[in-house]
């Protein structure tokens, strides 16, 4: 059973969408579009697929969320008024309690019959929970969400903007989640471009290509793969040999007009 994100190219990459009840880690450095993609997932769920959603943020106040969403044409206030979406600005300890006892978040899930949830960002838990307990807390949180049959997206911040190292999280979260979507900034011909790839989906095949994407006034738009380049994930890709050779041949055979 698939849960479409409503971003058609991403759904194609995921072979139909996220798996129902799965937890997806959306990882990327600041400015890559994690929040936009996560919000788009919830808005599309509410408006196109009749699946209500809950957005939990530790970073931004609701007013900021409403304003930013409005720039993409998403009327969050209206969706909240219709009971299709709820934005909750809280702190990590509250989220952790949510696993342990009945609290307002659990109540909201029941109230709006949420099927989708976004936690933005899971990286904040590291500041509130001791490192030795973090993995266990995350494990409990993931299990709790799965028991509630929520299809979840966790955003996580990667600290490396460009470079050839990829550390998804420091606590082994990549092993706990079912799906990992990586957002990356890459430099191509002195331009910073955004790249997206699906690193894993448990129990399903997926598109393994690295694709360029943009944040447009309509939200995330995923474009063609970086087929002409090698080493894109290192942050400094170079053209593939045949592509480079083709361009060099063209340059060699082009006689400049005098």
């Amino acid at each position: 059973m698939r849960v479409p994100t409503g971003i058609s190219e991403l759904d194609a990459m995921l072979h139909g969408g996220l798996m129902r009840g799965d937890v997806t880690l959306l990882v990327g450095c600041a400015g890559t579009g994690k929040t936009t993609l996560a919000l788009q997932y919830l808005v599309n769920g509410a408006t196109k697929f009749h699946e209500n959603g809950l957005y939990i943020t530790f970073e931004e106040m609701p007013a900021q969320i409403y304003r930013d969403a409005a720039s993409f044409g998403w009327d969050i206030r209206k969706l909240e008024a219709e009971g299709k979406l709820r934005v909750v600005c809280t702190s990590p300890p509250v989220l952790v309690q949510f696993v342990e006892q009945r609290n307002p978040i659990d109540a909201i899930i029941s109230e709006i019959n949420a099927k989708r949830i976004v936690i933005d960002s899971i990286s904040h838990l590291e500041n509130f929970i001791p490192a030795s307990e973090l993995r266990g807390e995350l494990y409990r949180l993931i299990n709790h969400l799965k028991m509630k049959e929520l299809t979840s997206i966790f955003t996580a911040e990667s600290h490396e903007v460009l470079g050839n190292q990829l550390v998804v999280t420091g606590v082994g979260l990549s092993f706990l989640v079912d799906c990992i979507i990586l957002l990356r900034i890459v430099e191509i011909q002195s331009n910073l471009k955004k790249a997206l790839t699906v690193l894993k989906i448990r129990g399903s095949d997926h598109d393994k290509q690295l694709r360029e994407f943009e944040i447009t006034p309509q939200g995330i738009k995923i474009a063609a793969p970086f087929a002409q380049y090698e080493g894109v994930l290192t942050g400094a890709p170079r053209r593939s040999f045949t592509e480079e050779a083709g361009r060099a041949w063209a340059e060699a055979f082009v006689r400049k007009r005098r």
């Binding site: 002409q228 040999f241 045949t242 592509e243 480079e244 050779a245 083709g246 361009r247 060099a248 041949w249 063209a250 340059e251 060699a252 055979f253 082009v254 006689r255 400049k256 007009r257």
Partner: protein, 266 residues
């Protein structure tokens, strides 16, 4: 004053050396060749031809990538020409292996001619400094598929007897083959001169080795005029010239990487 690297000098030497050997053999080789001097194992030619074909396919592919990346129409014709050259080897090897020498020589002669003409068109466009345009994938697909279809049509027509014989076993090449090959030799030689003229302006390693490769192809094809028997010394020197030409194609491809690391013109 710029000095020419030794590798380039040695590379260029191959052309006069092959010509000199062919002239010498033509003078020294008796009209009736001793069977001991004939060397024609059945699998050797197809095997070496496979190398020529693979290198030529690589050049055709790189030309296609270059066109799609830049819109240079020159590369469409160069790629089509090299593809026709590769298919000449594929077709002739296949039919030679089956013992259909007339079909093999008909396919190779016509494909060599087509290859030479397409190459020449590419070189002429380069010399005229034609403008680049927006790359259209269909354009290059059309030409490449057209070259392939042409080979199929020539094969069918040749096997149906639609062409005059190009090769009669026991007799040798016929005038139609000589005319077709002769034209291809001239066109390849002229194209080589055109590429060398481009090289004189840009000093591009790619052009240097590409131009020499075309010259060696012309020399190799010219040897067919002189050979008296398949598998004789003249025939092998001609083939060797073409094989070395393929190595030069490969050097031209690898020159891309050298130019990138050294910052020299590609």
């Amino acid at each position: 004053m710029t000095t020419i690297p030794l590798s380039k000098l040695l590379g260029a030497m191959a052309v006069p050396v092959f010509i000199a050997i062919l002239v010498a053999l033509n003078i020294l080789e008796p009209a009736k060749l001793d069977p001991a001097l004939i060397f024609d194992p059945p699998l050797l030619i197809p095997t070496v031809n496979l190398f020529v074909s693979l290198v030529s396919f690589l050049v055709a592919y790189i030309s296609a990538r270059g066109y799609l990346g830049t819109g240079s129409t020159t590369l469409v014709f160069l790629g089509g020409g090299v593809l026709a050259y590769a298919l000449a080897y594929v077709g002739s090897s296949t039919f030679l292996f089956q013992g259909s020498s007339n079909i093999a020589f008909t396919i190779s002669a016509i494909q060599f001619l087509v290859g030479s003409i397409l190459n020449a068109m590419g070189v002429v466009l380069a010399l005229r400094a034609s403008e680049e345009s927006r790359p259209v994938r269909g354009k290059i697909v059309l030409l490449y598929v057209g070259v392939l279809i042409l080979m199929v049509l020539v094969t069918v027509a040749s096997s149906q007897g639609a062409f005059p014989p190009f090769f009669i076993p026991g007799v040798g090449s016929t005038p139609p083959r000589m005319w077709v090959l002769g034209t291809a030799v001239c066109v390849f030689a002229l194209s080589s001169l055109g590429v060398m003229r481009l090289y004189a302006e840009s000093k591009s390693d790619i052009l240097y080795w590409y131009g020499l490769a075309m010259a060696l192809i012309a020399v190799g094809l010219a040897a067919f005029f002189l050979q008296r028997v398949v598998g004789g010394p003249i025939g092998w020197v001609g083939r060797l010239a073409q094989y070395v030409g393929s190595v030069y194609f490969l050097v031209a491809v690898l020159a891309t990487r050298g130019a990138r690391t050294k910052g020299t013109p590609p």
